[in-house]
Symmetry: D2
Subunit: 261 residues, 4 copies
């Protein structure tokens, strides 16, 4: 089994900002992909905003089991066509990890159906992340709490749908808490949001954060064949009904007609 | 307490199809609104696709506590601007009841973030609806099961997010089942999907269906003030932190800067 | 509408400990009941461990819409018969609010089916409670966060089932977080766990805490008739099947026989 | 990886009833275990009511990753001590599959905290099971629906807690529906209830049912180390607080004292 994973990076701060470049000289996506590739079951490559089709062609996504998304400054530059393509692949079974400022990424907002807003403060304060679901696969090997000494604060209310499960909750030195690890299923696709990862701090070099990412990819992976039927709304003709029935009453549609969409 | 309710009708089949007109001479929306108005706490009016802004102006929605939506043939004619407006009001606390073929209505798909597809068959077959959550407010006074002698079949997989709770499940004579009563919360807004209501059958004249609709409106009603903060993503400056903290490390944003959206 | 509410108090610390008696001279249950009674819809009385049947006779519970439970030192003294009686009434539709150290109360553990354990520290530290579900009825009128200057710390992992919804999460000065407001439905009964309320601090005199309690009682209230059917496992004879079927194959049970329990 | 699985069988009907013995000459547990063992990752053995400690000694359970439970006639003969032992191991991470009439098994009721009751009819009627969560691991390779030509009917209301996810729903020829595949997590343990399996029909010889069981075992398997901490409620002394705090206010407990349980 190999989990074909694409780490998508906006790839702007790393080039424009010396601090970020200093921490992630090859880009945040490269650091994340390298961390994932330490797991033998994961085969991670990268894609960036600047590539044709943002590096997410139909062919590429067809061969992607899990997509990891980090974006911040240029959410608006992501093409709506690619957003629909990503959402569609998630419904078909592709896993999706959304990181940090990706809470406002178009594909995430598209899949959540909510604003996905939150409070924030960039002060390099201490974040302590607590495991509140120690039996969840994403928590495997993660201690009951761990510290990121410098992180951006995110505060509630985080306007996402009630998750399937809450895995992590953050404590911030400035007094806030935040639901930092949340899961959802949409169609046949598993989605995991993980909070940490502000670009001016070395978060993705942290060993525990890297373990959470590997766990997240493995959890999000759906080994089933592409679930293309998710796009269909088939008519089941009376003569093919599973139990014999007789058509009764008036009808609107002609035989063989497609439904309205 | 008065629950200001707007019943939105596509209002096409009733005018174009003699069968539908015979069942709902004043429109399906009128029948539904009348059924709601038998409850003293509910004050229901109607709006239709053909009105300016589909009858859903900012001012109208601002005064709406619960919106009930029935559409089928003309989902594509609903303006995207109105769709965003409706979704926005739901996040702020407006309740939303989505009926039958409204599973493909743009506001519902927008709020679910999934295809919302299903199987279907128009054969006037028997539907038996089972209450699987008898303590839920929407099930108040509803028997353990009730029959609609002629209905369109909807079959699984219904590609919506796992609901907060499942209230009703349908049995169909042709062999299918369907999760017919599902709830979600999105932002501060409560959403209830209720399956029955094909336009060529007298479903909305059924007393039990009408009771479910009244229960649904009362459940979806959120009496709190409009939750406008759902649209904000405020910066919390260091000097206003709840606990005293000192800014540390490099930062990306300038003081007073807005975040990226 | 009147919500007949019983506030159950263990009533030991108030009598044995001068500090607690100083804060709650009439007992914690009396303070809580008085806070509830400021809401016209609620009619709260009290019951204590020391009364016959702990004040929770069949007759009393039959007339109780919502039960509020505070216990700590004497969980083991609560009779198993009363525990079963309380659980049974919850399944039938009685609401249940479990407060603070009640996480280890027998009726709560019985209804959760899990250990309900947590970490703790009694240091009078600051607790800041965040609303993470601002549209939930229990959060009505509650600010986005509020402070209890002196409270006992409770820390995760709180071993309860994943809740229906998470309403509040606490931040503690000592570095912990805790899911402080959680909801479940069991049978026809609504259950709300609310964390604050250590006996050596004046928590139940806090205006915001009192508002949460009133909201909790109103949310937990199920106005439907007592759902006694929850105890039944009825046989549905072939000749009473909703759809005509013919008995086929061998069978284990004789006609009219009860099932195994 | 090997998933050490124990199939527990009540083992009474197979010995007392000729019909059941004819279908399952070596016992239902043996047939189920054999079906599981066709999967190379699973190593299934059996245990029965009649063995010492019902075959579920502490040592045996310590070496069990997933327990499968079938019981019916003799639920009351299962020792309460063993019930607590099983529940405890589930909280620590052992998976649990509960089959058919096991809905009334003591360990299941213990873990659910609800009556787990349902309607029933033994008429050998047709059951059609629908997959309503096609992306769930338990649905891997399972068609959108499959038929068991002769089964006992189970009808709603099935008084269990709202599940984490609903995977299967059954249609019965006699007019009922039933939530037939439900999942929960309790502590670190995954629980799956699967409805079919009346002893007088050859259900566990059905290839699709066997696939569901194998999927269920693989889904329920938690590879993490035994989560013994689930039983603890540790005091965290002030001097060991993660953030420096000073003890304030009165306290109830002495230093080093255990909390009340």
């Amino acid at each position: 089994m190999t989990i074909r994973t694409v780490v998508w990076g906006e790839n702007i701060h790393e080039r424009e900002n010396a601090v970020v470049r200093g921490i992630y000289p090859d880009g945040m996506h490269a650091t994340i992909a390298a961390a994932l590739n330490t797991e033998s079951e994961i085969e991670a490559t990268t894609a960036t905003l600047q590539e044709p089709e943002h590096g997410l062609s139909e062919a590429r996504l067809a061969d992607t089991d899990v997509l990891v998304w980090w974006g911040h400054k240029a959410h608006g530059d992501v093409s709506d066509e690619i957003v629909e393509r990503v959402a569609s692949r998630v419904w078909e079974g592709m896993g999706l990890l959304v990181l940090h400022s990706g809470h406002f990424a178009k594909p995430f907002k598209r899949l959540m159906g909510t604003p996905c807003a939150l409070k924030w403060r960039e002060a390099g304060e201490r974040e302590r992340i607590w495991t509140v679901n120690p039996g969840h696969p994403i928590a495997a090997g993660i201690p009951e709490n761990f510290v990121l000494e410098n992180e951006e604060m995110y505060g509630e209310f985080f306007s996402v749908p009630e998750p399937l499960e809450t895995v992590f909750i953050s404590w911030f030195a400035g007094g806030e808490i935040f639901r930092s690890g949340l899961t959802w299923r949409r169609g046949a696709g598993n989605i995991f949001y993980f909070r940490p990862g502000h670009e001016t701090y070395p978060t993705y070099h942290d060993a525990t954060v890297q373990q959470v990412l590997r766990n997240g990819v493995k959890w999000a992976y759906n080994p089933m064949p592409r679930y293309s039927a998710v796009h269909d709304a088939p008519n089941v003709p009376v003569e093919q009904a599973l139990e014999p029935i007789t058509e009764r009453g008036p009808r609107l549609h002609q035989a063989g007609e497609e439904g309205y969409k």
